[in-house]
Symmetry: C2
C-alpha cells in the first residue's frame, strides 16, 4: 500500500487546507461514536440541517471500462447490440404494463374498501341521527380509521421503513446518484402498495399518486435486472443491464410510468424523470421513457375502462383525472392574468407556511418519535383526529344542498331536510381525489363559502400533520385539495365582488388555486406545469398554470425550500443540485478534495488489500491504482481506478498468484462474475482469506478502470462539479502536474457546499 500524500516540496500550499483538515478531524471524532446511536438517545441530532450524513453511498453512473468490459464490448457485433436495444424496449413496455396494473389494483381496492367504510359509517350515522347518540357514530368512525391506519403504519414501521411517505424524495435521491438502502426492493413495493391502500382507506389526508412514482421505480429496477434477490429467483435474462448506469435508466422510465399512471400525464412523467434525474439527456433514452409512460397510462386506461363497464372508451388515463375543462365555457381572458399571479403569490405563501410547519414537526419527530411503536401510535392518533375533525365539521355545518341533479356518491342527510344532503359531508365522505374533481366541476353555488373556508383551514393543518407520518402516502392530492378549496372560495368572492361576471367561474379558480398550492409546496417547475396541463386535458390552460406555478415557486423559495428538498436535507443526504453554488469559484479542487488518498499498486499483496478494505475508519469505495514498482521518491503516476466491489469479487474468487510465481497466469474472471454479485456485494468480513493467501499477489491490471476521469488541483469547484454531475461520477481523482494522485473528490465533498443566507456555507460531515 502506498499512501500518495502530495509531495510537499512541490506543492507548498498543501498545508493550507484548513477546511479540509477540520473535516478530517470531525470525521475521526465521529467514528468513535457508535453508529446505532440514533435509536437510543431521544435527543440526538441538535443541528440536523447543517449536517451531511456519511452513511449514504453513491451510485456509479460511470462504466468501469476495464479490460473485461472492453473485451466484451468488442466481441459484441452490431446485430447483438440491436438485440440489446430491443431488450431495452421490451423492458420498458413491461415496466409500463406492470406499473399500470399496479395502479389499477390500488385504485380498485381503494375504491371498494373506502366505499365499504363510507357505507358502514353512513348507515350508522343515519341510524343515530334519528334516535340520537351520534357520539357512537363518531367512535365507530374514528376506531375504523385508526385501526386501518394502524395496520398500514405497522407494516411500514416494522417491516420496511423506507416505504414511508410518498417515496418521491427517495427516488429523487436515487436518480441523483445516492444509494438509499432498500429503496428499489420488491419488499418495499409490496409494503408500499398495501400501505398506501390502508392510508387512503383509513381516511388520512393523503393521496395515492405520489407513491405510484416509487412503485414504478421499484418495478423498473426489478424487471430490468431479470431477477429478484428477495425471492431468490434469477431468470438469467437481462444480465447485460446489471450495473448502475443501465439500472438508473430503467428506474427513470419507471418513475415516469408512475407519474403517467397517477395523473394520466405521460409527457409530464418524462419531464419529471428528466428534471429529477437525468443529468445527461439522451434522445433514445427519452424516447424509451416516453414509451413506458404511454404504455402505463394506456394500460391503466384500458383496464379501468373495462372494470367500469364502458370498455374501449378510454376515459380514465390516470388515477386522478381533473375532468373535462371545456375551453369554451371556462376559457380565460387576458384581464384575469394578474388575478392568477396574485393566486400564485397566495399559493407560495401558504406553501411556505405548510413547509415551515412541517419542518418543525419533522424536527420534533426526528428527535422524539423515532421508535416504531411511537410512530404507529402517532399515525393512529392522526387518523382518529382526522375522523373527529371531519365529524365535528359535518355536525356543525348547516350547509344543505338539494340532492337532485348532484352526483354525490354517499349523500348524508343528517339534519338536512328530506331531499337535501349535507354539503360538508361530501368533502369527507369521498376519497380526496373525488373531492378535488368536485371542487373543480360542481356548478357555481354548490358550496357555501363558510364551508369552504373551514374546510381549507382544517385540511391544511391535517395534511401538514399527516405528511411525514410513518405511512405510505402522497402529498399531491391533499395539496391540490387545499388549493382547490381556497381557490374556489376565492372565485366565489370574486363573483360576489364583480356581481357575478361570467368569467369568474369558481371551477377555474379552484384549478388555479390547486396549482398554486401544489406549486408552493413541492416547487416543481416544468414537469408540474405539464402534469397539470395533461391532467386537465386542455392545452390552453398551460400559460396561466405556468404563471401561477412560477409565481408560487418564486414567492415560496423566498421563505423556505420545497417540501421534498427540505426532507432530503433533513435526512442529511449528500444531494447534488444542478450547479455548484454561484459564489463557489473561489474554491479549487485542492480545497475540496479528500486527502490523503489510499492507493493500491498495480500488483498488490492480498494482505494489503484485505487490510485496506477492512479498515472501518476510512471505508473507502474507490482506490486509485499506481505503478507497482513505485516507491515514495519516484514519480508514480495514476494508472487506473478500482472499486471496492471489484476487489471484493476478486478476493471472493481467489484471483491471485503466489509471490514466487508471479509469471503464472492468475485465474480469469468473467464480467458475469461481477454481474452476479451486483448489487449486493458481500462485506469484506464475510470473505475468508488465509494467512498463506495474504502473502499472495493480485494483479489489478485487467480489472481496474485504466482511464478514470481526473482534474488538476487548480480546477475551480464549479468546474469539478460540472464534470462530476454531468457524467454521474462517484470518484474523481485529483492529480498534480505530473499526474500523481493528490486527492479524491467524492459526492460528499461537493454536496458539502451550499448557498446560505450569508453566502457560501459548508456543512459538517457526520456518521449518522
Amino acid at each position: 500500500m502506498c499512501c500518495c500524500c502530495p509531495d510537499q516540496q512541490l506543492t507548498p500550499s498543501s498545508f493550507l487546507r484548513i477546511g479540509q483538515l477540520s473535516n478530517v478531524d470531525l470525521n475521526e471524532d465521529i467514528h468513535e461514536l457508535e453508529t446505532e446511536l440514533p435509536r437510543q438517545h431521544p435527543n440526538e441530532i441538535p443541528h440536523n440541517e447543517k449536517l451531511l450524513s456519511l452513511k449514504y453511498e453513491s451510485l456509479d453512473y460511470d462504466n468501469s471500462e476495464n479490460q473485461l468490459f472492453l473485451e466484451e464490448e468488442r466481441r459484441i457485433n452490431h446485430a447483438a447490440f440491436r438485440t440489446v436495444e430491443i431488450k431495452r424496449w421490451v423492458i420498458c413496455a413491461m415496466i409500463g404494463i406492470l406499473t399500470g396494473l399496479v395502479a389499477c389494483f390500488i385504485d380498485i381496492v381503494v375504491e371498494n374498501l373506502a366505499g365499504l367504510k363510507y357505507r358502514v359509517v353512513k348507515d350508522n350515522i343515519d341510524k343515530f341521527t334519528a334516535k340520537g347518540g351520534l357520539s357512537f357514530s363518531l367512535l365507530l368512525w374514528a376506531t375504523l380509521n385508526a385501526s386501518v391506519v394502524m395496520v398500514g403504519s405497522v407494516i411500514v414501521a416494522f417491516i420496511e421503513p423506507v416505504a414511508a411517505g410518498s417515496g418521491i424524495p427517495q427516488i429523487k435521491c436515487y436518480l441523483n446518484g445516492v444509494k438509499i438502502p432498500h429503496v428499489v426492493r420488491l419488499k418495499t413495493l409490496v409494503i408500499k402498495v398495501c400501505g398506501v391502500i390502508l392510508s387512503v382507506v383509513g381516511g388520512l389526508a393523503v393521496g395515492k399518486e405520489g407513491p405510484m412514482i416509487h412503485s414504478g421505480s421499484v418495478i423498473a429496477a426489478g424487471i430490468s435486472q431479470g431477477r429478484s434477490t428477495s425471492l431468490k429467483r434469477d431468470f438469467k435474462i437481462f444480465e447485460y443491464f446489471r450495473r448502475d448506469t443501465e439500472k438508473r435508466d430503467f428506474v427513470s422510465a419507471g418513475a415516469a410510468a408512475g407519474v403517467s399512471a397517477a395523473f394520466g400525464a405521460p409527457v409530464g412523467g418524462v419531464l419529471f424523470s428528466l428534471e429529477e434525474g437525468a443529468s445527461f439527456w439522451n434522445q433514445f433514452l427519452t424516447w424509451r421513457i416516453f414509451f413506458a409512460s404511454m404504455i402505463s397510462t394506456f394500460t391503466l386506461n384500458s383496464v379501468l375502462s373495462v372494470y367500469h363497464g364502458n370498455a374501449w372508451d378510454l376515459s380514465s388515463p390516470g388515477l386522478i383525472n381533473f375532468g373535462r375543462f371545456d375551453s369554451e365555457k371556462m376559457g380565460y381572458t387576458i384581464q384575469e392574468i394578474p388575478i392568477f399571479i396574485f393566486m400564485g403569490v397566495v399559493g407560495g405563501i401558504l406553501g411556505a407556511l405548510f413547509n415551515a410547519l412541517n419542518y418543525w414537526l419533522t424536527m420534533f419527530r426526528i428527535r422524539y418519535i423515532h421508535r416504531p411503536c411511537l410512530q404507529v401510535v402517532e399515525a393512529m392518533l392522526v387518523a382518529a383526529v382526522t375522523a373527529t375533525v371531519g365529524f365535528v365539521m359535518i355536525y356543525c355545518s348547516r350547509d344543505c344542498q338539494p340532492i337532485q341533479g348532484s352526483s354525490v356518491a354517499y349523500p348524508l342527510q343528517l339534519f338536512c331536510a328530506d331531499g337535501e344532503y349535507n354539503s360538508m359531508a361530501t368533502a369527507f365522505f369521498n376519497t380526496p381525489e373525488k373531492s378535488v374533481v368536485n371542487l373543480f366541476h360542481d356548478p357555481p353555488g354548490s358550496y357555501n363559502p363558510m364551508t369552504l373556508g373551514m374546510f381549507t383551514l382544517m385540511y391544511f393543518f391535517l395534511a401538514c400533520w399527516t405528511y411525514g407520518l410513518t405511512v405510505s402516502a402522497g402529498v399531491f392530492i391533499p395539496s391540490l385539495l387545499i388549493g382547490a378549496a381556497w381557490g374556489r372560495l376565492f372565485g366565489i368572492s370574486l363573483s360576489y365582488l364583480t356581481k357575478g361576471s361570467i368569467w369568474a367561474d369558481p371551477g377555474k379558480y379552484a384549478l388555479m388555486g390547486a396549482a398554486a398550492q401544489l406549486g408552493g409546496i413541492v416547487r416543481m417547475t416544468l414537469s408540474l406545469t405539464v402534469i397539470m396541463m395533461e391532467a386537465t386535458g386542455n392545452v390552453t390552460y398551460g400559460f396561466p398554470i405556468m404563471l401561477v406555478l412560477m409565481t408560487a415557486k418564486i414567492v415560496g423559495d423566498y421563505f423556505v425550500e420545497g417540501l421534498y428538498d427540505m426532507h432530503i436535507q433533513l435526512q442529511s443526504v449528500p444531494f447534488l443540485h444542478w450547479e455548484a453554488p454561484v459564489t463557489s469559484h473561489s474554491l479549487t479542487a485542492r480545497e475540496v478534495m479528500s486527502t490523503p488518498v489510499t492507493c493500491l499498486r498495480r500488483i498488490e499483496r492480498v494482505g494489503t488489500v484485505v487490510d485496506i478494505l477492512s479498515d472501518t475508519s476510512s471505508n473507502h469505495n474507490g482506490f486509485p491504482v499506481v505503478e507497482s514498482n513505485a516507491d515514495t521518491t519516484q514519480v508514480a503516476g495514476l494508472r487506473g481506478l478500482i472499486l471496492r466491489s471489484q476487489l471484493i469479487v476478486l478476493l471472493k474468487h481467489k484471483v491471485f498468484v503466489e509471490r514466487a510465481n508471479l509469471n503464472l497466469v492468475q485465474r480469469r474472471l468473467k464480467l458475469k462474475d461481477f454481474r452476479d454479485a451486483y448489487p449486493r456485494f458481500p462485506p469484506i468480513q464475510s470473505i475468508h482469506v488465509s494467512q498463506d493467501e495474504r502473502d499472495c499477489m493480485i494483479d489489478l491490471s485487467e480489472f481496474m478502470n485504466p482511464s478514470p476521469y481526473t482534474v488538476p488541483q487548480e480546477a475551480s469547484l464549479p468546474r469539478v462539479f460540472k464534470l462530476f454531475r454531468a457524467l454521474g461520477l462517484r470518484h474523481l481523482v485529483v492529480v498534480d502536474n505530473r499526474n500523481e494522485v493528490v486527492g479524491m473528490v467524492t459526492r460528499k465533498d461537493l454536496a458539502r457546499y451550499r448557498l446560505g443566507k450569508e453566502g457560501l456555507e459548508e456543512l459538517s460531515l457526520a456518521q449518522t
Copy 2:
C-alpha cells in the same frame, strides 16, 4: 514553440497510428487546392456523403476558466448573481415577445398578400371560364407565382444563402456545437422573414413554420448579446453573456419560442430544443426556455386575436392550429390501434421515398446548380410548374361541392353548376396551412377519393422538388398536407369497407396520416409527438400519435436517414450524435486523436505565437500550454490550454514585455477586452506585429485555462465521446501517464466515426 510529439521510448506504439497518419496526409493534400474551388468546377464533390468538411469550426461550450474569469466571478457577490439571473429572465421574455411578433408579422403579411393573389387569379379565371381562353389565366397565375418566388430566391441566393431552407438543420448544428457562418446574424433574419413570405405567397409547396425556429434563434442570439454587429450598435448591456455557453442557452430558448409560435406548442418547443441541443439538462435553463416559449405563443395569440377582431379570446396559439379535435366525437378505440400502426408503416415508407428522392435531387443540385442565378431560375421553374400542376388538376377535376354551409375562402365555380364550387381548387386556392385544417375537419364526403389521390401524388413530388430550393421555406406543412391527404383517403376507403362505421371518421385518419408522413420524413421523436399533441389541443391523441410516429421512424430508419440529418450529412458537417457508435469500443484516444500537437510555452516569444497563428496549413484553434523551461529531454507536463481567439486579443492589445525586462509587469487586460471582440475575432493577418515586437515575450499564465479537461491515451472512443459531448467541449487534450501532451481530440476526430451498413466506417476529411 515546442512540438510535443510523444516520447517514443515510452510509447512504442505511437508509430502504429495508421488511420491517424493517413488522415494527416489527406489533410495536407487538400490544403494545396484552392478553397474557392466549389464555385468554379461544375462537378466537384464526387463522394460527398463520405466526407467530413474541415471548414466548420466548433463552438466552445466550456468556459475558459482563466485567472481573469475567476477573478471576475470571485468579485461578483450573491446579489450580483441574482441580477444576472434576472437579466436572463428578462432576455427570455424579450425573446418570446419578439419571436411572437415576428410570427404575427409573417402571418398577417402572408394572409393579405396571398389573399390578394388568389382574388386576382380567381377573378381572372371567373372571367375567362365564361368566354374561353383559360390559358391566359394559367399564364397569369404562373407568372405571378414565378415572379414572387424570383424575388424571394434572389434575396436568398445573392444576399444570404444561409437563409435558404427551413433553417432547422442549421440550428441543429449550432446547438450541437458547430459554428455555421452567419447563421444567427440579423441580416439572415431579415432575409429569412422576407424570403418565407415570398415563398408562401409564391404558391410553392412550403410552410412558414420551420423558418420560425431559425428566426427565433436569431432573435435570441441578437438580444442576448445586447448589440448588433451588422447595425454597428452596442447597447452596452448583457455583456456578461458574450460567450458561447450563454449564447447557446439563449439560442435554445429562441428555437423553442419559434416552435411554440409556429405550432402553438410551448412544451413541444422546449422538448425540441432539448432534443436537438442541450446535452446537459439544467432545470433552471429549461424553465427559462419554457417561459420564453409560453410568452411567444401568448404574444402571437393576443396579437392575432386582436387583429382578427375577437380580442381576448386567445384562439390562435400558433401559426398553424389543427383546430378542435373533439374527443367525444373523434375518440379512438383500442381496435383502431393496429390500423394506426399500419398507417405508421405507410408513412415510414413514403417518408423514406421522399428523403431518397430528395437526396438524389440534392446531390444533383450540389453538382450542377451551384451558381446563384441557376438557383433562382430553378426556383422560378418550380413556382411555374406548381401553378401549372394546380391549374391542370383544377381544370381536369369534376369534383363539385355545394357552396352552402362550407367555409371556403375563395370558392371557384369553374365548370361547376351554380351554387357549387370546385373542390380541387380549394386545395390550391388556400395557404397549405388552411388546406391541412380543412382535411382534418371537413365533414365526411367533402372530398372525392380521386381528387385526394391525385392531390397526394402531385403534392408529394412538388414538395420533394421544392425542398432544397434556394428559398426560405419549411417542410413541415407540405409533409402534413401530403399525409393528411392520403390519411383522409385511407379513412374514406375504410369507411367504404366497413360500410360507414361511426369510428372511421376521415378527419381522424387525416390527422394520423399527417403524423405518419411528417414522422417518416423528419424522424423527430418525443418533441414531434408533443408538438402534434399540443397542436390538436387534445391530450387523448397522444398515445396513437406516439405509436404512429414510432412506427414511421423505425420503418423509415430502415431505409434512409431523416431529412434534416441527411442534409447535415450532405453538407459534411461534423455533427456529433448522442453516443459514439456502439461498436467503437475497439478504438482508443490514441487512435482517434490528432498528433503532433502544436504546444506553446507558458512564457512564449511573440514571433513564435504569430508564426503559429499564421500557419494556414494547420489553422489550429486551441494550443496546450506547457512549462516555460521545458526542453525536449525533460518531462513537460500540461499546464493549460489557450485559444486562438484569446491569443489574437493579446496580440491586438500588445500584451507583452521585452525579453530583457521579463520581470516587468505586462499590460493588464480585462475580460471586457475579450468580450468586446467576441464573436468576430479579427484574423491574425489584420494584426500588425513589428520585428521588434516579435522578439518580445508574452506571459500566457493568466489568460490560459489552467485546468483543461484531459483523457489518458487508453480511454476508449465511447468514453472520450461521452466526456466531449456531455460537456460541449471544443478541445480535449490527450495526455500520457506523466501528464505530457500526446495528442488533441477535436470535434472532427469524433464525428469521423460512423456506423455504416457493414459496421464502423471512417469518413475522410476534406477542406470543402
